[in-house]
């Protein structure tokens, strides 16, 4: 089953990456990032069982905690941007360029 789990993880990761590239709504982009993180967690858990120790699960746990912190800060930033620009589109914040 390990192979199937890993392939599922890769698919979810790729879908999340595509979502990041395609979607313009910053919140949805954020959701896609979360999906990518979850896909990684699945791979960690799968490998933990495959090699037979708990370290993979510990790492997955830390990823979750860090992701939670990241979501908090990221969403705060989105709210701040939305407050000033009345827009949550990632394309609107494009002044930092040539």
């Amino acid at each position: 089953m390990t192979t199937q789990y890993l392939i599922l993880s890769g698919l979810l990761f790729a879908i999340g990456a595509m979502g990041v590239l395609i979607r313009r709504n910053a919140i949805v982009v954020f959701m896609c990032v979360e999906l990518m993180l979850n896909a990684c967690n699945l791979a960690f858990v799968t490998f933990a069982r495959q090699v037979g120790n708990l370290e993979g699960q510990i790492i997955a746990f830390f990823v979750m905690v860090v992701a939670a912190a990241e979501v908090v800060v990221g969403l705060a930033i989105i709210v701040t941007i939305f407050r000033t620009r009345r827009s949550a589109s990632v394309d609107d914040a494009n002044l930092l360029k040539y």
Partner: protein, 635 residues
Amino acid sequence: MESPVEIVQHTAGGVIGLSWLMIVLPLLGAAILLVLGRKTNRWGHLLGVAMSLASFVVAVLGFFALIGLPDDQRRQAVHLYEFIPGMVDMGLLIDPLSISFALLITGVGSLIHIYSIGYMAHDPDRRRFFAYLNLFVAAMLLLVLSDNYVGLFIGWEGVGLASYLLIGFWQFKPSAAVAAKKAFIVNRVGDFGLLVGMFIIWTSFGTLAFGDLGAKVNGVQDGTTLAIGLLLLLGACGKSAQLPLQSWLLDAMEGPTPVSALIHAATMVTAGVYLVVRSGAFFFPEGSTAALAVAIVGAATLLAGAIIGCAKDDIKKGLAGSTMSQIGYMMLGAGLGPAGYAFAIGHLITHGFFKADMFLGAGSVMHGMNDEVNMRKYGGLRKYMPITFVTFIVGYLAIIGFPLLSGYFTKDGIIETAVHHQPVLGWLAVAGAGITGFYMSRMIFMTFFGEKRWDADAHPHESPAVMTVPLIILSIGSIFLGGYLILSNTLMKFLAPAVGRPTDLPVFHFASVPGLATLALVAVGAGFAWFRYGRAEVPVVAPRGSFVTTFARRDLYGDALNESLFMRPGQWLTRIAVFFDNRGIDGVVNGLAAGIGGTSGRLRRLQTGFARTYALSILIGAALLTGALLLVGNI
């Protein structure tokens, strides 16, 4: 032939020990006048004269102290201080040669100082003028009194500086400013020769002191000494306006007339002769190639100067041509070894007197004629300026070599020695004397005789006593000095400790073949001048003249030659360099900059500011990296 005696270190005090005062006094005068500026306007000229006179007094006392010593003690070195440790000790060399020059410089210089009081009376910058005159005297004294080439060179440059300042004294006149610049630049060429010569002396012999050089060179003549000799000759040519560096002297007449008298007749231009005579024992011994080169340069210049003098209507430029010519005689004499030295120095001294006399006379004429210099607008001035006329006539007779006057003895000495040693050059000098007779007579006839050709507003009058008294003193020198110096070989004996002398002292023949030929030619020249300018009417506007006249009027095309040989190629070179700089170097630099700028201008479009574009490139990069890892891992 006798060699110069050894230089002895001066130990006791006395006047010789104080000879540095000669240099310091006028230098102090210049410093005071320049530093205090306008505050000294009222009495500045008097201070300048006083300093010059004081220097003259020191020189006279030094002279008497020197002749009080036995012959083998007559070269006194006065050590002053260590200038460049281990290389140059600054010191003065008081010997007959240098004291002769010092007497000439301070004596004639003082007379010219006094004369300038009257001549510059109406110039608002008279004080500055006297400061420069003092500076000049100090520099020239340093040049002749220094006991080594470094000190000589400092004086040499100081003289060049003072000359620049004085020629361009009326710097509001563009012609004066240009003339000053020209003099300075042409002198630089000569200075370059002197400098390189000094470098070679130092590397070859390890000393620059006159006292040590005799033993180091020890009479050996080879390629090195020849090279040094020619380089020193180049320096001498620059300072003495000898061919091919003569072009500055005629333009230098833009300065006030006392400057022409002091610098361009009596003293500065003689520095080249001094250099050759001073270095004679080391680098220009009798019969050497370098000495022959000196003599040839002298002969060529004396002819060139005489020819130029024939065509000039400007009285000062005519005298300047004559100066070139007379310095040419001195160089010719200096190129003949110890036999010629005495005559060269003698002619130098007498020329200092009669040329200063004539220049100051010309200044006196100009003073009375509203600064008119064109001789075609003079005529018949003898009745209006009797003293000037008489003194000028004395100078004239001296320079053409009228029997028993100063110039007769000294110039005839040079000519006879030259005929004896270098017959070709000697007879050229005879011919030069004939031309001298012509152009000097022409000057006299055009200025003092004939009809009045003045402008309407000219009111010729005699100059004040402060100007005529120096003229009288100078003309007295012009009459008697030559006979005194030459007849019983007084000067030759006096100079012998410094420059050596021939074993057989020459006897002055009043009826030698070259002497009589010279007199005859001078008479012919003067007669021809009378025929053209005394008897006939002198046209106010210069006639076009023949090709030869134009040739002479244009200074033998010296300026044109310099221009086409040096200036034009230089201009082309700079233009090519500018073109290359603009198109080549600037092109590469600008092209590179434009290339980088253009490339970055296009590359920066990649920075769109859209986070999604960046994310896309990250993902593509990650995918490519994963693919590469898979390939490398050979999975």
